[in-house]
Amino acid sequence: MKSLSILWNVFLRDFRKQSGRMTLTIVGLLWGTVSIMLLLSFGEGLYQQMSLNEKGMGEGFSVIWGGRTNKEFKGLPRGRRIWFLADDLPYFSKKIPDAKLITGEMMRWGQRISYKGKYVSHMVNGLYPEYESLRAMYPQMGGRFVNKKDIELKRRVVFLGDEVKKELMPEVENPVGEMVFINSVPFTVIGILSPKQQMNSYASQDAYNVFIPLSTYRTIWNEPYYDNLILAVDKKDYGRMKEFTDRLNLAAAAKYKYDPDDKVLGIWDTIESQKLMGNILLGLKYFLGFVGFMTLAIAGVGVANIMYVSVKERTREIGVKMAMGARRATIQLQFITEALFITFMGGGIGIALIYSATEAFKMIPLDIPVLDIMGRPTVSLVDGLIVTLILGTMGVVAGYFPSRKASSVNPVDSLRYE
């Protein structure tokens, strides 16, 4: 305990006395820490934002659409159109009972949507209530999505994408209950889509679409065919999506009589593409981290170097201290403490700086489109811990070898009259 307080007092005093040299090293280290944290926080922000964007479309499903046969099959000609009809939904559900959900949607591009003399042209989407959670179509406060009753009663109700609402009725505070026209048919607004970050889409961004009950859609356009089927699976089956779509293909081939190996259906597996994107993002984050790590390592070499030079410069001082009764262990620990102190000062200030900068950046309400893709730089706890760990190791290594040199100084040699 006593030797600890001796160490502390000696360290404090020398540090104060020689703070000039130390400050420079601390600044060097601060720079290293700031760069690694900056890169990591950008990486993390990007990663989080991208993941968020990914989820904007919903997750865990495949989109399947019909096509034409390319081969003759059992006497049937090629070029036949294979499209899905209303009774296909219960059929597939029976064939693939372990799927979480099989639903369908219809869509029509470029429909005229008007409100009080203003009009815009957007896609109209006919769908079922399941669509809400499947595709992350959550309504803003005060509104709701299409429900079962709407389907049953073929109600003329519409759920607007948030951007459509902004275009048509920017000044309307509570749009629920307002009347809009699709072509010339009046619809009552039941809800507005909560703004969401959506990077993927297979038709157009949900914010720019309008959504109506599928039954209503059918009566207006007298349309029998689904544009897409959507096959969703439970989380535990995410890894087996291909199996599910294969089974759907087989079931469809049996019903519509085509060769299952003939690539008739279009299939987009969102799980697969999200996984790929996730890996790219993770790779990017690691790359940024690695670049930052190298910067920090260079700063670490700087600390070790300065400690070494410091030992050389201070051999006489070390000799004097030994003649005055300093123990070798005290001398050695003093140098290690100095190295650790320098690294943690530089590192700590660096981390604090980046942390407060990113926090401050979060507070500023910025509406820059780039941020929707880039995300805002974020410091994650793990990143902070990793950097602290690297700094600690670096401090010990950068301090240990110079300190050993320091404590092996021969006082007689260092004190000889020059």
């Binding site: 006395k17 003649a323 005055m324 123990r327």
Partner: protein, 226 residues
């Protein structure tokens, strides 16, 4: 206080062996004041370093206050240097970045004394060597004589019974050197054992005991004269 039997010191420089001390036998009693004299290179500093536990001897035995130094651990040696011995060097060896007060503080720091005690002791010692007004001066802001006074104050920090001075007047003019010797006389009168290397025959002659060295061995005065 000090007893050496057949102490030798051999330096190995590459393949060449150099015997800096040869079979030194010496006894120095408590409260003695000895001058060590001899030509340059005769081994005075080597002997002093061994006495001060800064260096070890190659062969022979050295007892400090009855204890064999060869048997002490590194930490024990450090504590001996801290508590039992006070060093004064020809080139002062003050820490250049520290003030007079902070220099005197060094041995107290390693003794683990409290801050309050350290400050009190520093003030007292610097007053005693006549530097009460130079406490906050750095070595570069002081004269040689003043620096040596600081060094002496520092050697007294933990009130050691033994003071070792290696040519303390070597870098000073005669008058300043005389004042330093007076200071050592005072310390001797207080009951301390003092060993002082000097090149100045006038200073040596005034001290109670002289130890003569030549080529690493102790000799009597007569042989040197002849």
């Amino acid at each position: 206080m000090i007893r050496m039997t057949n102490v030798s010191k051999v330096y190995n420089t590459g393949s060449i062996k150099f015997e800096a001390l040869r079979e030194v036998n010496i006894e120095i009693k408590e409260r003695e004041f000895c001058a060590v004299v001899g030509p340059s290179g005769s081994g005075k500093s080597t002997l002093m370093n061994i006495i001060g536990c800064l260096d070890d001897c190659t062969t022979g035995e050295y007892f400090l206050r009855g204890t064999s130094v060869a048997n002490m651990t590194q930490n024990q040696l450090a504590d001996v240097r801290n508590q039992t011995i006070g060093f004064v060097f020809q080139s002062f060896n003050l820490l250049p970045y520290a003030t007079a007060e902070e220099n005197v503080e060094v041995p107290l720091l390693f003794a683990g004394k409290s801050r309050k005690l350290r400050l009190e002791r520093c003030r007292h010692l610097l007053e005693r060597v006549g530097l009460a007004d130079k406490m906050k001066n750095r070595p570069t802001e002081m004269s040689g004589g003043e620096m040596q006074r600081v060094a002496i104050a520092r050697s007294l920090a933990n009130d050691p019974p033994l003071i070792l001075a290696d040519e303390p007047t070597g870098n000073l003019d005669t008058r300043t050197g005389g004042a330093i010797v007076d200071l050592f006389n005072e310390l001797h009168d207080e009951g301390r054992t003092i060993i002082m290397i000097t090149h100045d025959p006038n200073i040596a002659a005034k001290l109670p005991r002289q130890i003569y060295m030549q080529d690493g061995a102790l000799v009597d005065k007569l042989r040197i004269a002849s």
